[in-house]
């Protein structure tokens, strides 16, 4: 799969009487290549352009400019051929017929993807087994839990045995056990040689599953590499975490001015604000940070090795 300088802009209008039009560039020159059988992660905050990029690759959106091909087929010119070979799964509750059973949902989409009747039966049985839903397929979807719906989504996306699967935040809103099962399902796709493009907010998920990752911010790819490369390359150093109570925004800004500090992020945890500072490896900034916090009440202070999440936070907050 190849994306070359993909761009997509949207026109929006505001106001009722005086309508003002503006153009928003959701994807600004995204390029990447995904090798066959590779699991590639596209990470980025909400509104970064992940879903727009995926929708261009699965032929639901036309790029404003640039080009993309999937399995050597152009996503603009060879629409039908691309659709036959790809699967698309998105996260959340929607995208299923609630009044039909899980089995009927699968049969419906199997027909739309032209799966032969005999093959259909075998394939649906195997997929229900894969996503752990054997025995529940005759129940109506409206009675399914979120995790079950998501697993049914995965099965739906794999009905026609696609060569490439696009997973757009598939684990969103799923409980930890369901998310773990989902990761196992995605890992099994990888074992079967399926090419996977995964978008997710969960760094451990990307870290565990992806061969390579691209971080997208404001419609542009700001980093690309293996999870290890990203961890090393971006957050080469250590992470200082400081628990605070009621830290003013102005004070947080001053911490970023400290020489060895690359970035500062604030995580709200109830009454706590945890300051996550990405620092140089050999630096000692704890005293400087505490002195700048002044009268702010401070809890636990700890230092640790950077994770992929730290790398991600640094990339998207720079």
């Amino acid at each position: 799969m190849v994306a070359r300088d993909l761009r997509r802009s949207f026109r929006t209008t505001q106001g009722r009487l005086r309508r003002t039009r503006s153009e928003v560039e959701a994807v600004r020159g995204v390029s990447f290549e995904i090798a066959p059988g590779e699991t590639f992660g596209l990470l980025g905050p909400n509104g970064a352009g992940k879903t727009t990029t995926i929708k261009m690759l699965i032929t639901l959106l036309l790029p404003t400019s640039g080009s993309a091909s999937v399995l050597g087929m152009d996503v603009v010119a060879d629409v039908r051929a691309v659709r036959r070979r790809i699967g698309y799964v998105f996260g959340g509750d929607r995208g299923l017929y609630d009044r039909l059973s899980g089995l009927d949902n699968l049969r419906y989409f199997a027909e739309l993807y032209g799966v032969e009747p005999r093959e259909q039966q075998r394939r649906i049985g195997a997929l229900l087994e894969l996503v752990g839903m054997t025995g529940r397929e005759h129940e109506r979807v409206e009675g399914y839990s979120r995790g079950m719906r998501q697993r049914l989504h995965i099965a739906r996306g794999l009905l026609h045995d696609p060569d490439v699967v696009f997973l757009d935040e598939p684990s969103i809103g799923i409980d930890p056990v369901g998310a773990r099962e989902l990761r196992a399902t995605i890992a099994s796709l990888k074992e079967q040689g399926t090419t996977v493009l995964l978008t997710t907010h969960y760094m451990f998920e990307a870290d565990e599953l992806c061969d390579r990752i691209a971080v997208i911010r404001s419609g542009e790819i700001v980093a690309e590499g293996t999870p290890e490369q990203l961890k090393r390359g971006v957050a080469s150093g250590r992470v200082l975490e400081v628990e605070t109570y009621g830290v003013p925004a102005g004070v947080v800004e001053t911490l970023g001015d400290l020489g060895p500090v690359h970035s500062v992020a604030v995580e709200e945890r109830g009454q706590l604000q945890v300051l996550v500072l990405q620092c140089d490896a050999d630096s000692e900034v704890t005293q400087d940070v505490l002195s700048r916090l002044g009268d702010v009440r401070v809890g636990r202070v700890s230092a640790r090795e950077p994770t992929l999440e730290d790398a991600y936070v640094q990339l998207v907050t720079q």
């Binding site: 727009t52 032929t59 959106l61 929607r94 017929y97 009044r99 009927d104 419906y108």
Partner: protein, 260 residues
């Protein structure tokens, strides 16, 4: 399997599943069967004042088709938006099957519910109001009913494609409901309408279907009306197919498939 049999099988299975969706919904059931009965009741109560059995038979037939018009136009105008709200519209478009092949079974399923309502309404008219249909040719009457149902479904198909870009598409169907009753001559002869609106009546296939049904019932030849009715239905389908293709292209260009 040949391509044709594959497509036929696909249409049949998708139709069955779409019908299943409609039949398990209490709202659809209410809209499809109970609503038409209420409309037929109101109409026949008005006509009963005259005490003319021929007028009652005239109104009874029209009231039966009136129910199909209501259930199909209102439901079909919001058909695609319903798919959009369910999050299935993008998946249907993303499938390799042409989008129109996806829409046909959905609209046909709606028409089937409408057909059930015709039968239920006729039985209701007979049992509650004693409306006796002296039908000269039952096969031709059935043909007329089928033509009415199919062409109203095609009209609904056209509406669903036209209205999909509008989030308040349901309002379009609702606003067509009562004018349709009058324009199609379900309970009032088209000849009583002002001259200026009669071309609208002639452009609506159900007008001809109801005329065909009445001709079949009274012993006349319904073939002319049936031909016009089916030609109009085919025109709706062709127009919807053309607009449907344009719609998908436009949605890919303007990102309007997932508007929720």
């Amino acid at each position: 399997m040949t391509r044709l049999t594959t497509r036929a099988r696909q249409l049949w299975l998708c139709y069955r599943l779409q019908l299943k969706i409609l039949l398990v919904s209490p709202f659809e059931g209410f809209l499809g069967v109970v609503f038409p009965l209420m409309f037929a009741t109101a109409t026949l109560l008005v006509y009963r004042v005259e005490g003319d059995p021929r007028a009652m038979a005239y109104a009874g037939l029209g009231a039966a088709v009136m129910g199909v018009w209501t259930s199909v136009t209102v439901a079909a105008s919001s058909l695609l938006n319903r798919e959009r709200w369910a999050g299935t519209l993008e998946l249907l478009v993303a499938a390799p099957t042409p989008f129109l092949m996806v829409l046909v079974p959905i609209t046909t399923a709606m028409a089937t519910v409408g057909l059930v309502s015709v039968v239920v309404t006729l039985v209701w008219n007979r049992l509650v109001f004693g409306v006796r249909l002296d039908v000269a040719s039952w096969p031709l009457l059935v043909l007329g009913v089928l033509a009415a149902t199919v062409t109203i479904a095609m009209f609904g198909f056209l509406l669903s494609v036209v209205a999909v870009r509008y989030r308040t598409a349901w309002a379009l169907g609702a606003s067509l409901e009562y004018p349709g009753w009058l324009l199609c001559g379900f309970v009032v002869p088209v000849s009583l309408l002002p001259l200026v609106v009669r071309p609208l009546s002639w452009a609506l296939a159900p007008t001809w279907a109801v005329e065909a049904m009445r001709s079949a019932a009274s012993g006349g030849s319904p073939w002319g009306e049936l031909a016009v009715c089916l030609a109009l239905g085919a025109a709706y389908a062709a127009l919807a197919a053309y607009l449907g293709r344009r719609l998908i292209e436009s949605a890919r260009r303007h990102a309007t498939l997932a508007l929720t």
